[in-house]
C-alpha cells in the first residue's frame, strides 16, 4: 500500500475535506505541482484551478478560486472558495467568471498606468476561464 499523508481542505465558511491521501495536485501560482507524502515543507499561493486529490478510494476534484497551501507534516489547503467539481454547474461557473471579469475591469480603471495590478487581474481572469475548459464548461464572456 502506498504511503499516505493527512490532507485538509478548508475554506473560510467550512471544512470540505479531511482525510488520508496518496497525492494532491495543486494549482500553484507559479505552476501546477503534485504533493506527495514526505514532500519538503513548502508554502505556495494558489491560482484559480482544479485541485485533484488522490485517495485510496479514488480521485476527488475541487474547483478553487485562490488561497494558499501549506505543506508540512501533512498538506493543508486554505482556499478562498472551494467547491466540489461535481457541484459546479454552468450558472455557478459563469458567476465566478463574471466576478473575475468585473474585478479585472475595475482594476483596469483604478490603475490606468500601472501594468502590475492590471496584469495580475488579467491573469486571474484568464485562469478562471481556463478552469472552464478543465471541467468541461464554456463561458459566454469574450476572453478578455
Amino acid at each position: 500500500m502506498a504511503e499516505t499523508m493527512q490532507f485538509d481542505l478548508v475554506s473560510p465558511e467550512r471544512s470540505l475535506m479531511s482525510a488520508q491521501v496518496k497525492s494532491v495536485q495543486i494549482p500553484g501560482a507559479d505552476g501546477d505541482m503534485t504533493a506527495m507524502p514526505n514532500h519538503a515543507p513548502l508554502i505556495t499561493t494558489l491560482r484559480p484551478g482544479v485541485l485533484k486529490v488522490e485517495t485510496d478510494k479514488g480521485v476527488e476534484e475541487f474547483v478553487v478560486t485562490g488561497g494558499f497551501a501549506e505543506l508540512g507534516e501533512g498538506l493543508s489547503v486554505l482556499a478562498e472558495r472551494a467547491v466540489p467539481k461535481a457541484d459546479v454547474d454552468q450558472a455557478a461557473y459563469e458567476a465566478m467568471v463574471d466576478e473575475a471579469h468585473s474585478a479585472y475591469k475595475q482594476t483596469k480603471e483604478t490603475f490606468k498606468n500601472e501594468p502590475g495590478p492590471v496584469d495580475d487581474a488579467a491573469k486571474l481572469l484568464a485562469d478562471m476561464v481556463a478552469v472552464g475548459t478543465h471541467i468541461g464548461l464554456s463561458t459566454k464572456q469574450p476572453s478578455l
Binding site: 485538509d8 478548508v10 475554506s11 473560510p12 465558511e13 467550512r14 471544512s15 500553484g28 501560482a29 507559479d30 519538503a40 515543507p41 513548502l42 508554502i43 505556495t44 499561493t45 488561497g67 494558499f68 501549506e70 508540512g72 493543508s76 486554505l78 478562498e80 472558495r81
Partner: protein
C-alpha cells in the same frame, strides 16, 4: 384600586407580550444553533491561517522590506475603530457592552491626543455611539439585508478598510466585537488587525523552526496573504458576533418571558381579589337592604 375591566385588559396584553417574547426566544435558539455551526466551521481555517501567518511573520521579522500591513506605518497617530454590532435590538446588553468598550477606548485615545476615526458595522452600535462620538464617523456598513453572513461580506468590509489604509487614512485599526463563550456569557473584545498581530505559537518551538520553501518568494506570499488575513479576522469576528447576538437575545427573551409570567400571576391574583371584593360588596348591600325592610 384599578377596576376589573382595566385589570382584565392588562392581563390580556401581558399575555400577548409573553407570546411574542417566547416566540422570539425560540427563533433566537434556532438561529443560535446555525450561527454557532457557522462559527465552528470557520475555526479550522482561521487557526491554520494564523499558524501559517505566525510562521511567516516570524521569518520575515522586522526587516525593513516587511509590508506595511505587518510592520505598521511607523506611527500610531490616527486610529480607526471598527465597531461591530447587530442590526436589531432586543438582545439584552449585547450592543451596549460593545459600545461601552469602544467608547472607553475612544475616550482613552482622545485623551492621549490621537486622531480618531470610527467605522461602524451594524445599526445598533452606530446609534449608541453617535451621541458622543458622532463627529468621528467615517463610514458605515449595513448588513441588515444579509440573511446569512458569508465570507464575501467580510471581504467587502476588508476591502473598504484596506482601501483607506492604502490611502494613508489611518495607522492602526482595531475591531470591536463580542466573543461567544456560551449562551449566558459573551465577552466584548477588542482586537488590533492593522498592523497585524498574530498569536505566535508558544512553547511550540518545533513548529516554529520548520523551514519552509516559498513559492513565489516570502514577501510576495506575505503581500498576498496579509489582506486575506484582515478579511479572515473580520469574518471570524462577524461570525462570533452573530452567535453572541443570538445567544444574548435568547437569554434576554427567556428572562422577558419569565418576567411576563410572574406579572400575569400577580395581576391574576389582584384581579381575583378585586372581583371577590365586588361580590362581597354586592352581598352586603343586598343583605343590609333586606334587613332594612
Amino acid at each position: 384600586m384599578p377596576n376589573l375591566k382595566d385589570l382584565k385588559n392588562r392581563i390580556a396584553s401581558v399575555k400577548s407580550t409573553r407570546k411574542i417574547t417566547k416566540a422570539m426566544q425560540m427563533v433566537a435558539a434556532a438561529k443560535l444553533r446555525r450561527a454557532q455551526d457557522a462559527a465552528e466551521q470557520s475555526r479550522p481555517y482561521t487557526e491554520r491561517f494564523n499558524a501559517v501567518m505566525g510562521a511567516l511573520a516570524a521569518s520575515v521579522g522586522d526587516s525593513d522590506s516587511a509590508p506595511k500591513l505587518l510592520s505598521g506605518t511607523g506611527k500610531d497617530d490616527v486610529h480607526l475603530l471598527i465597531v461591530m454590532t447587530s442590526e436589531r435590538g432586543l438582545c439584552g446588553g449585547f450592543n451596549a457592552n460593545i459600545a461601552k468598550l469602544a467608547k472607553a477606548k475612544a475616550t482613552e485615545l482622545l485623551g492621549k491626543g490621537k486622531t480618531l476615526k470610527i467605522l461602524t458595522v451594524g445599526k445598533k452600535g452606530r446609534d449608541a455611539i453617535k451621541r458622543d462620538f458622532g463627529d468621528y464617523f467615517v463610514g458605515h456598513v449595513d448588513l441588515s439585508e444579509v440573511k446569512r453572513i458569508g465570507y464575501a461580506d467580510a471581504q467587502g468590509i476588508a476591502k473598504d478598510v484596506l482601501g483607506r489604509f492604502d490611502a494613508g487614512e489611518f495607522d492602526v485599526a482595531t475591531i470591536f466585537y463580542s466573543k461567544f463563550v456560551n449562551v449566558v456569557s459573551q465577552i466584548p473584545t477588542e482586537q488590533q488587525i492593522i498592523p497585524a498581530a498574530f498569536d505566535t505559537p508558544e512553547g511550540d518551538s518545533a513548529e516554529a523552526t520548520t523551514l519552509y520553501d516559498y513559492e513565489p518568494d516570502e514577501e510576495a506570499i506575505l503581500a498576498d496573504l496579509l489582506p486575506r488575513g484582515v478579511a479572515t479576522q473580520i469574518f471570524s469576528a462577524l461570525l462570533e458576533n452573530g452567535a453572541s447576538e443570538q445567544g444574548a437575545r435568547m437569554s434576554a427573551m427567556d428572562n422577558a418571558t419569565r418576567n411576563a409570567g410572574e406579572m400575569i400571576e400577580k395581576l391574576t391574583i389582584q384581579y381575583n381579589r378585586s372581583r371577590q371584593a365586588v361580590i362581597t360588596n354586592e352581598l352586603i348591600e343586598i343583605i343590609s337592604g333586606a334587613e332594612a325592610l
